[in-house]
């Protein structure tokens, strides 16, 4: 069954079809919330709220593409709003990190952990832009529509965020080299 068919059935009240939609999108929604908020418990709560909200708004969702757009938009905006109301994000504990470590062969888990932490250090709007670009693979125009942000602001966030992260990583590499050479 295609996502559009599942959507049609969910709109008609089929709970199992709604469950299928949740299964198809839960990783994306949860991960977006997790990398925005930095904590699993908060991310799960937010993901649950987003899907509950979706359940109430199913009639206004026109297609599977619209559904994906709606989920990203709501998750990103909710996360940004929450970050603006709450104190700064805590670092994820090493136990939490165990779930976040990539299992792709050849990847550097330490570098990837650093990158995830650097993303958490970005301002909420910049963080959302980076997440939508590198997790969701959206282009700047799609990101602009999702976040209701001018496209040049999106590009500026991307450029500056990458520069900041690159400088941080290079700085840490230099520090490590100096530490090894002494």
């Amino acid at each position: 069954m295609s996502l559009d068919e599942q959507l049609a059935k969910a709109r008609a009240g089929d709970l199992a079809a709604f469950g299928d939609l949740v299964r198809a999108h839960k990783r994306s929604v949860y991960s977006l919330a997790l990398r925005m908020l930095g904590r699993r418990d908060l991310a799960e709560d937010m993901a649950q709220e987003v899907f509950m909200q979706l359940h109430g708004k199913l009639q206004s969702i026109e297609s599977s593409a619209h559904l994906a757009f709606w989920l990203r938009k709501v998750t990103a905006h909710r996360a940004i709003d929450q970050l603006r109301r709450r104190p700064p994000v805590e670092m994820t504990s090493l136990n939490d990190e165990a779930q976040l470590v990539s299992t792709v062969d050849g990847s550097d888990p330490l570098l990837q952990r650093q990158l995830r932490q650097l993303v958490l250090n970005l301002s909420p709007p910049a963080r959302a832009v980076v997440m939508l670009r590198y997790q969701e693979d959206l282009d700047p125009l799609e990101i602009a529509k999702t976040l209701d942000m001018p496209v040049n602001t999106v590009k500026s966030h991307l450029k500056r965020s990458l520069e900041t992260m690159r400088q941080e990583i290079l700085g840490q590499v230099e520090t490590r080299r100096e530490g090894h050479s002494t």
């Binding site: 603006r84 709007p125 910049a126 832009v129 040049n152 500026s156 450029k159 500056r160 900041t164």
Partner: protein, 188 residues
């Protein structure tokens, strides 16, 4: 008799021109239509008082970024931006910008700073127009090999409030005390 009243007569005759000589912070910005067509990216913004008021109504005071933006635009009567990015170096001519620069040599404008980088060939000039102790206009001209930008802000600009917006738009925080102007580059 006429000679005695000559100074008064001169003042009365000059009064209209004196009145109308008040400095105007609004620059005449070209539309750069032909350049815009060739630019890979362009930003053309014209916000007069009514549009600024409209924007103010749709800025959310509960959102820190919007609230800070509201503070900045409170005393403003206009914001005008022309910014163009090209795929090749110096696709634009200096004469395109000189027409604007010429207006900044008019009375009332003071150059706050000018910086030039030999390394990146970036050049930034910032001008302020003041009335008493208050800034009533700001003009910024930035040129790089593949980009030039002109910004003209009309109204009561509070550099402190503008400074508070740093980090909000994807631009990292400056390490600069907004109450002091950066050191002038005396290369010119």
């Amino acid at each position: 008799m006429i000679r005695r009243f000559m100074p008064v007569i001169v003042c009365v005759l000059l009064a209209p021109s004196l009145t109308f000589a008040a400095p105007n912070p609004r620059l005449l910005l070209p539309e750069f239509g032909a350049l815009a067509d060739k630019a890979s990216e362009s930003v053309t913004i014209t916000l007069d008082p009514s549009m600024l008021a409209m924007a103010g109504r749709f800025l959310d005071s509960n959102d820190p970024q919007d609230a800070a933006t509201q503070e900045v635009i409170k005393g403003l009567q206009g914001i005008y931006v022309r910014s163009y990015t090209f795929d090749q170096d110096y696709f634009y001519k200096q004469s395109d910008i000189d027409a604007v620069r010429k207006q900044l040599s008019a009375p009332g404008w003071n150059r706050l700073m000018e910086t030039r980088s030999r390394k990146t060939h970036a050049n930034v000039e910032i001008y302020i127009m003041t009335e008493g102790n208050k800034a009533i206009g700001l003009a910024l001209i930035a040129s790089e090999p593949r980009e030039f930008t002109i910004v003209n802000i009309i109204g009561s600009i509070d550099l402190q409030k503008l400074h508070k917006l740093e980090g909000q738009f994807g631009v990292p925080k400056l390490d600069l005390d907004a109450t002091k102007a950066p050191a002038l580059n005396k290369q010119k």
